[in-house]
């Protein structure tokens, strides 16, 4: 089988154009942008807080959907053939505290201003890593996870790292809240890990499930209990989560029901993790109108992928990364027309 190739826009590595560009985040948007820039002759530096490239492709989406080796090989190809330099376990930061999944691995911090000093431009592709919360009592009990808190350690612990402990699922009763693709991934992972009982609770009906009716049907065939039109009220338990209290529309008006649980996983979506929320206001970015596409109000700082759009699909992140890289290149060339020497002879 072919190796996946993010530098798919050129047939061979081009001559260097003498410019440095930094990409923050090595998910689908970051890797695609790195590939684009490498094909245009840039010396590309990719920073990621995790010890491997791939972002959610590797650390969020289960391996039975996307083979992690294929992403690893693709990053290796970028590094070996196109000279892309990966800086892992490195977080680009301001003085703000670190607080998302994956921060366990951070060994080094680099400031954005240092990056801007060293590179002609910086592209931020930090994705959507901060989970949305349920905002109900008991949410902070041990045994209550968000989808990323649950899925990330399952993937990360396979890397012989002792920093993360995977949730113990075998024989346990798991309640998954949500019906999107990450809720389905959590339920599927629980099936694989031999959970005792899996319940899936969703606020709307199966016809509204973002993952689609078919995925829910397949899970139900495999023994997952499906409850729809459910509103979680609270999670109770002395030392850890033991009961999930909820109401269900149409079943017993105003009546609260209880579900015995060992684990609760809230898979209700993530919000963008802009590393510089105070400095870089993403809502200020013109999405396609004036100015340089996807450039922030800081000259030379661009954004792409889920951090800009919120959680979407891999394809959208790739497209966003490619467009941002093209815009970044245009911005650099517009400032320094002499830098055009090796411009994308092969692009097309």
């Amino acid at each position: 089988m072919n190796t996946m190739n993010y530098a798919f826009l050129c047939s061979a590595p081009p001559a260097p154009n003498g410019l440095k560009a930094a990409v923050v985040g090595s998910g689908p948007a970051g890797l695609s942008a790195a590939g684009w820039l490498a094909c245009a002759g840039y010396e590309v530096h990719v920073y990621d807080k995790l010890p491997k490239a791939g972002g959610l492709l590797v650390f969020g989406i289960p391996g039975f959907r996307i083979p992690a080796k294929r992403i690893e090989d693709a990053a290796e190809k970028l590094a070996a053939e196109y000279g892309v330099r990966f800086h892992f376990c490195t977080k680009i930061c301001t003085q703000d505290k670190v607080c998302e999944s994956g921060d366990e691995f951070v060994q080094e911090m680099v400031s954005l201003s240092d990056l801007l000093h060293e590179c002609a431009a910086v592209l931020i592709c930090t994705g959507s890593w901060r989970p949305r919360r349920l905002n109900i009592p008991g949410e902070d009990l041990p045994g209550v996870y968000t989808s990323l808190e649950f899925l990330f350690p399952l993937r990360a612990c396979k890397m012989a790292e002792t920093r993360v402990a995977p949730p113990q699922v075998e024989g346990r009763r798991v309640a998954v809240i949500g019906a999107g693709l990450s809720a389905v991934d959590v339920a599927q992972s629980c099936l694989r890990l031999g959970a005792g009982k899996i319940s899936m609770l969703y606020r709307k009906t199966v016809d509204d499930a973002p993952a689609g009716r078919m995925e829910i049907k397949l899970l139900r065939q495999r023994g997952v209990h499906w409850r729809e039109q459910v509103t979680p009220i609270r999670i109770t338990g002395e030392d850890r989560a033991r009961k999930l209290v909820y109401t269900q529309a149409g079943v017993d008006q105003n009546g609260e029901q209880e579900l015995d649980v060992d684990l609760v996983v809230a898979a209700i979506g993530e919000v963008p993790t802009n590393p510089f929320p105070r400095e870089l206001r993403l809502e200020d970015i013109s999405k396609d109108g004036q100015g340089w596409l996807q450039m922030t109000r800081f000259e030379g700082v661009f954004v792409a992928g889920d951090v800009l759009t919120g959680p979407s699909k891999i394809g959208r992140a790739i497209l966003s990364g490619l467009r941002a890289a093209e815009s970044l290149d245009g911005w650099i060339k517009s400032r320094d027309p002499n830098a055009d020497a090796a411009k994308e002879a092969d692009h097309g």
């Binding site: 996946m4 689609g212 495999r222 790739i318 097309g348």
Partner: protein
């Protein structure tokens, strides 16, 4: 031509509907030639030209705008095309589309003809994170598919508890059978 013929094959067992193929195709050509299509049950499926050996579009075209190039790609000559869309109505895979951008009336996959001329493979093949899109001669594609099935068969024999009675790719993809799950786990709650 038969010897060197190449085609695109989508392994729907491995596709996760992530839209990467459509994204890069759209980036290169303005309008994607591979179309992510959501079924009524919510499964997203890429639809693209199969570059048939006996193409219905080629036969039906009133103005002979189609030909098969040296790699076997079914290619449309936009200068000859009048945009009658009879090709779309006869295509078993609905792989041809009205052009929404540019002067050409009809858009379809040409297996990235411009890229092939430079020795590159179609962009969707390069970017698929699942290895679900194969490009090669029928022999190469068959060999790869058999390899995948063989791996699945061996896995399901090694781990019958995970794969149940299913074999091959279906087993690898679905992994936990209803029977296996129900018999093995359901009746022993922890506490």
């Amino acid at each position: 031509m038969a010897e060197s013929k190449k085609t695109l094959y989508i392994d729907y067992n491995l596709c996760i509907g992530c839209e990467s193929c459509e994204a890069v195709c759209g980036y290169l050509y303005g309008q994607p030639r591979i179309h992510m299509t959501r079924t009524s049950d919510g499964i997203t499926v890429p639809i693209s030209c199969h570059h048939c050996a006996n193409p219905a579009c080629l036969k039906a075209c009133n103005v002979n705008a189609f030909h098969q190039d040296e790699d076997g790609a079914v290619v449309l000559d936009p200068k000859a095309c009048v945009g009658c869309m009879v090709c779309l109505s006869v295509c078993p895979f609905a792989a041809i589309s009205h052009s929404r951008s540019g002067p050409d009336p009809v858009a379809k996959c040409d297996l990235c003809a411009v890229r092939r001329a430079k020795g590159m493979t179609p962009a969707c093949v390069e970017i698929c994170p699942c290895g679900a899109i194969l490009f090669g001669s029928p022999d190469e594609i068959e060999a790869e598919l058999r390899q995948r099935v063989a791996e699945g068969i061996v896995q399901s024999h090694m781990h019958p508890e995970r794969f149940g009675t299913q074999v091959g790719l279906r087993a690898m993809k679905k992994s936990v059978s209803v029977e296996g799950y129900a018999a093995g786990r359901k009746s022993d709650p922890e506490d």
